[in-house]
Symmetry: C2
Subunit: 243 residues, 2 copies
């Protein structure tokens, strides 16, 4: 059932990449009774599979709206996700996966994404902005940590006309904040998420199959394995080749 | 003389709209000895005159670089500057000009602009971000107030890899913060700014002539008058018609 234009529901903005985490957050926001407006960015990713995935997910889950914005982060460079001259790392060890800031870090990405979400929220009259950051990300990405999210919430309430005039009190909701990938897989499964629609891989094949070797593939597959839930991902490698 | 690739200068990012305020800030940053990298946005403004002005200004003043980013704020609507269905107000009284949030307010604009500036700064290895907010703006735009700027600075130092790893301490510089338009005109003049290159009008004629009636034209013209400096702006109306 679609919630499009459902009367009486509180509007919210949900950042949706088309990955496992943000899809679970969208399902959660809708289950909580929000009229969820998904927001997705084309930001110079090397592939568009996740945009297509996000569109399918927003429709399937019954988002009340879905905005896809083009923003250009390629001009700045500095990340393996937006700069073709930097290689996506493969087959890193468990220790490497959870320590240090990886080259897939995109400068100020979540600051930029949340800023647009704030603009969208103000136009919609929404107070709530959902983002799928989680415990696993904290070790690597500075703009996924709880103190960053809190600082953005403080900023948001000084930044917009609706907040300053007292019409809204902006709340940044990060419901996965304390969860591991295993817990997110379990949580999303209970919410009825079809994870076969989601895309995590940083470096998929042209046909969309996940590489199975990048950080995102490894963390994703391990999440399913540890949750004891079959991994529905279509990989370019055999199950035996997955770490 | 161009400062392009000048060795030994500290890099900085300067938000440049092509208007009177941000142009003065760029001149100030260069005079202070920074290698200033200007950052301009095409964000669905009704007219592109200010983009052309920004390019000319960056070249003339000797910016070390100039990035022009396309971002789409039209999809959200909600502002007379990005939504053709909302009229730009004309001939408002002095009281109206300095009270309340005008319809030319663009939701979360400075949050978005500063977020991109932060990304640019990180890639450049710059600690300093310059923005031309000033006292006059405070009354109308929430995201021009000193408390907003301070909150963004706090966020920035939690948001980026370079700040979190201790390589940079991000500082948001707003050198016009306490200045009136009159003082900015005087300051810019002492810095040698050619204000005839700058564009303030919210609703220029197709040939680029300023309308003379919108808030920006009125505040600009009054600034020159009060500073006792001839206004070099090409208006679509006669001097006698300016308020």
């Amino acid at each position: 059932m679609s919630l499009t234009n459902a009367p009486g529901l509180r509007p919210a903005v949900v950042l949706l990449s088309g990955g496992l985490d943000s899809t679970t957050v969208l399902a959660h926001a809708i289950a909580e009774g929000y009229a969820a407006h998904a927001l997705t960015f084309r930001y110079g990713q090397r592939h568009s599979h996740e945009i297509v995935a996000a569109q399918r997910i927003a429709t399937t889950l019954g988002a009340s709206g879905h905005a896809i914005l083009d923003i250009d982060l390629r001009g700045f460079g500095g990340s393996a996700l937006t700069d073709a001259s930097i290689a996506v790392p493969k087959d890193r060890s468990a220790d490497e996966l959870t320590h240090g800031i990886p080259v897939t870090y995109v400068p100020a990405r979540n600051t930029i994404f949340l800023s647009f979400a704030l603009a969208y929220a103000e136009v919609l009259g929404a107070s709530d902005i959902f983002i799928g950051v989680n415990a696993l990300d904290y070790s690597g990405y500075p703009d996924c940590r709880p103190e960053f999210i809190s600082a953005f919430e403080a900023l948001a309430n000084l930044a917009t006309a609706s907040a300053v005039e007292g019409r809204t009190r902006v709340v940044i909701r990060a419901p996965l904040q304390q969860m591991t990938k295993q817990q997110i897989v379990t949580f999303g499964t209970t919410l009825g998420v079809d994870f076969s629609h989601t895309v995590s891989c940083y470096d998929p094949r042209d046909d969309g199959a996940a590489c199975g070797h990048c950080d995102a593939c490894q963390l994703r597959h391990r999440g399913f394995r540890e949750a004891g839930i079959p991994d529905p991902t279509r990989y370019a490698v055999t199950p035996a080749e997955l770490r």
